[in-house]
């Protein structure tokens, strides 16, 4: 589902063996029968609901319409994972508070919070009372968890999402691989030593 017909044409040209497309603005609510979906995925779309294109639009109303209709169309026990790029931290807070207001549990997960390139925001939503959003991926040794919790106040067993964990960036292996790549390209590269890729002491 996309609001842009041009993007839909691109998607249509590529193989859509198992899926169908629809032209729709998710800020006007989802046009589906209640309790239809086992899961919902959205990539880089949610932040656009924070902008009002015309004077009759309001960001809050659009977000609420989206989340309450999402709540309706999901089956009980379903999950939703929505990746987005907030422009400001306030946007991320507004988005997650609207999700909580619509009745969802879950929260915001920020992968690699200290990296400008790899930083990614995900909103992980569920119906379960004790649901906690999965652990965020981090740079090796970067310190405490950064996941912000929205709705679920009861501390329950931590749940981790299934699937393999991605390799942390700038780990020792990554540095070594990069250095050998550079050597192959004939670039000047410092020799590997026991200090290579080692974390520096936290100095203040």
């Amino acid at each position: 589902m996309d609001i842009s017909t041009d993007m839909l044409d691109v998607a249509n040209e590529r193989e859509t063996d198992h899926g169908d497309l629809a032209h729709h603005d998710m800020g006007t609510g989802l046009p589906f029968r209640p309790s239809t979906f086992d899961g919902v995925i959205s990539v880089s779309a949610l932040q656009w609901l924070c902008y009002a294109q015309t004077s009759e639009q309001s960001a809050k109303a659009r977000l609420m319409r989206f989340f309450s209709s999402l709540y309706t169309v999901l089956k009980r026990g379903a999950r939703a994972a929505l990746q987005f790029y907030p422009e400001t931290p306030e946007q991320a807070v507004l988005i997650s508070s609207c999700a909580a207001q619509a009745g969802f549990t879950g929260g915001l997960v920020v992968d690699y919070p200290n990296s400008a390139k790899a930083k990614k925001y995900y909103l992980c939503l569920s119906f379960e009372h004790g649901y906690r959003a999965p652990q965020a991926l981090e740079q090796e040794g970067a310190g405490a968890a950064t996941g912000v919790r929205v709705a679920d106040r009861e501390r329950q067993q931590q749940r981790r999402q299934k699937g393999k964990k991605r390799e942390a960036i700038k780990s020792k292996d990554w540095v070594l691989a990069k250095k050998s790549r550079q050597r192959q390209q004939g670039k000047e590269t410092r020799p590997d030593s026991k200090y290579t890729g080692r974390k520096r002491k936290d100095k203040f």
């Binding site: 609001i3 839909l8 044409d9 249509n12 063996d17 169908d20 497309l21 629809a22 032209h23 729709h24 603005d25 006007t28 609510g29 989802l30 046009p31 589906f32 029968r33 239809t36 015309t54 009759e56 639009q57 109303a61 609420m64 319409r65 309450s68 209709s69 207001q101």
Partner: protein, 129 residues
């Protein structure tokens, strides 16, 4: 647009209660064979709205007796039935035409196989929260 998608779409404008099932006005329908996945069909069958699917089959011009009047557990073990259901759900593509809301008469045009479900801000139901 596949009939599986049609089975979950509804009209969600202001003043419409159900907005379902949308009736199909097809001007171009294509059949495109796809790999048969029995597990998928078995999983999806109980979640379908059967009357809406039968109505859709009729509206795209397929023979009405392609699907039985109701679905039962016994039928889910029958491969011929699963294949027919798979064909209806996944292989029928409405390429051009329109979807029409049974309550409000609102039309959603279909072009290049993509239904245009866009509604204006003024058509949105008021949020009660």
């Amino acid at each position: 647009m596949r009939l599986l998608t049609h089975n979950v779409l509804r009209c969600a404008i202001k003043g419409v209660e159900e907005g379902y099932p949308l009736s199909i006005e097809a001007s171009e329908v294509q059949m495109e064979e796809s790999p048969f996945r029995p597990d998928f069909v078995k999983h999806i069958a109980p979640t379908l709205n059967w009357p809406a699917l039968r109505q859709a089959v009729k509206q795209v011009g397929l023979p009405e007796d392609m699907l039985p009047e109701a679905v039962s557990d016994a039928l889910l073990g029958d491969e011929a039935f699963l294949r027919a259901l798979h064909r209806v759900l996944m292989d029928v593509h409405v390429v051009a035409g329109a979807l029409v809301c049974p309550e409000s008469g609102r039309r959603f045009p279909i072009a290049h196989g993509i239904p245009d479900m866009m509604i204006a801000e003024g058509e949105c139901p008021r949020d009660d929260k």
